[in-house]
Amino acid sequence: MAISEARDAAALPQSARPRAAVSKLFWLAAGWIALVFLATSLANVLPLPDPTRMELLDKRRPPNATHWLGTDGLGRDMLSRLIHGARISLTVGILAPLIGLIIGGALGMSAGYFRRSAETVITGAVDVLLAFPPLVLALAVTAYLGQTVANLTWVIGVLSIPAFTRVARAATLSLAEREFILAARAAGASELRILVRELLPNVILPLLAFFLLAVAVTIVVEGALSFLGLGVPPPAPSWGSMIGEGRESLEVAPRIAFLPAMAMFLTVLAFNIVGDTLRAITDPRQTAL
């Protein structure tokens, strides 16, 4: 961080200090993430039933010996679908916001830093993308380029660029006039250097927090898109589409919708706990009043 550490000396006696930053919770979260990644990478090797295999007369069965988490509305094994679904959900869920983060972040920082015409053009372009009906784009891509995970990732990614751009721009605006930037400029640093060495570390924090949220939102959005027929092509499973399919059986077998929701909840929460802890470690100044 550019702000000098001198103020630590002037800090008041610490009142409520956060507990040891690396707590039990962190390890639990990290453990869960590791488990999820392990399971998804080994999905094809593990002795799981085919996630698309339907036992048509065995639909909505509660957990039993053959199906540890039961079957869904068409008789497919839930555990297998959860694990295979994780692959697609996490792939789309992480890569799509990443596209937004990288492209949107860069655009937003440029807009917030360079102002003038660059800002007008960038915010204009971003407003256009924002106002463009997302469904039309999704439909057109599906129709012409096919319904694949890759296309889906790109569509969601591109549609998330405006949000990242605006967040990055907002953060940049508040930092661009600060003393440390002026100081760096006075010291003769090039614009690029300022952007990367001074601004980026500060802007990345709100962006990353937003990114982790975007992961959660994207996984759910993929489910909504699947509902409209624009998500992952059936019969491939994804957490989002499983939640959508489970909706019809809410009264009879709520487990079908809640298991993928639970998986998603735990995974996304774990990401954020890890993110929070890492931030607390790298920046141990207390925030409590």
Binding site: I3, R7, A10, L12, A16, R19, A21, L25, R115, T120, T123, G124, A125, D127, V128, L130, A131, F132, P133, P134, L135, V136, L137, A140, A143, P162, A163, R166, V167, A170, A171, L173, S174, E177, L205, P206, A209, F210, L213, A216, V220, A224, I243, G244, R247, L250, A261, M262, M264, F265, V268, L269, I273, D276, A280, D283, R285, T287, A288, L289
Partner: protein
Amino acid sequence: MLGLAARRAVYLVPVLLAVTLLTFLVASLLPGDLAYAILGDQATPETVAALRHDMGLDQPALWRYLRWLGGVLQGDLGRSYRTGESVLGAILGRLPVSLQLMVAAEIAAFVVAIPIAIQCAARAGTGFDRLATGIAFAKLSIPSFMVAILLIYLFAVQLRLFPATGYVPFGEDPLGNLRSLVLPALTLAIGEWPVLMRVLRSDMIATLQEDFIALAKAKGLRPRRILLVHALKPSSLTLVTVAGINIGRLIGGTVIVESIFALPGIGRLLIGAIYTRDFMILQGVVLFVATGFVMVNFLVDTLYALLDPRIRHGH
């Protein structure tokens, strides 16, 4: 101020042109010709060609766009191909519903998100923070279509407190209007507040680490004052940004909630237009939504300067 407004107006025009042109071109690419949809079983190559000629669909897309634009400049947004109703009438008829829903949802989301975020930031890392975070992510993991159905079953079917579906105009019955908005607004708010809460919390944690907060503490100000008066405003940038984007999206994008609660809003109008390839309605809605976005973002930009005095609208 006037200069700013004039600049905004100048900015608005190219954005509207770009959005409507892009929408038109991309939508024209969509398979599924309007002529086929109208003719249905009677669609032979000859009848399709004849109808397309009649509707002007065999002209190049750009030319058709210009014709539409010409109409718009004269204040005529045209008529729906499918139902014959005036596009402007259709949109204005549904706009109040969407706006009311959007306002109610945002207020509900803010009312919950802001206090919790402040407390979380003040007590970052404590049990309260963890719990609130957990609940927020739990909410995010439940998509809006699930939340909606759960709310309906609880409040409408079991408790009979609120209507399961439907919209009552304010003019007709103010109380009924509010009642009919509660569940849909709640559904939307539940989807929004986790994000709003988390971004505010995040920004606030960063702000609380700043010098001027330490200074305030040193001056002996009470924590509550520090939080609300000094820390909240500069931390609100991301919050306001995200809220701005959401508000814009809510106008055209609440299809799921509108479908489930059977609200006659813009979202359903838009989706219906896309699926029936009713370009006149599609273009009209996009025009409105784009204008809405630009206005909201303008407001947001203005708020930046108010919230954080370090931001100057320098040019």
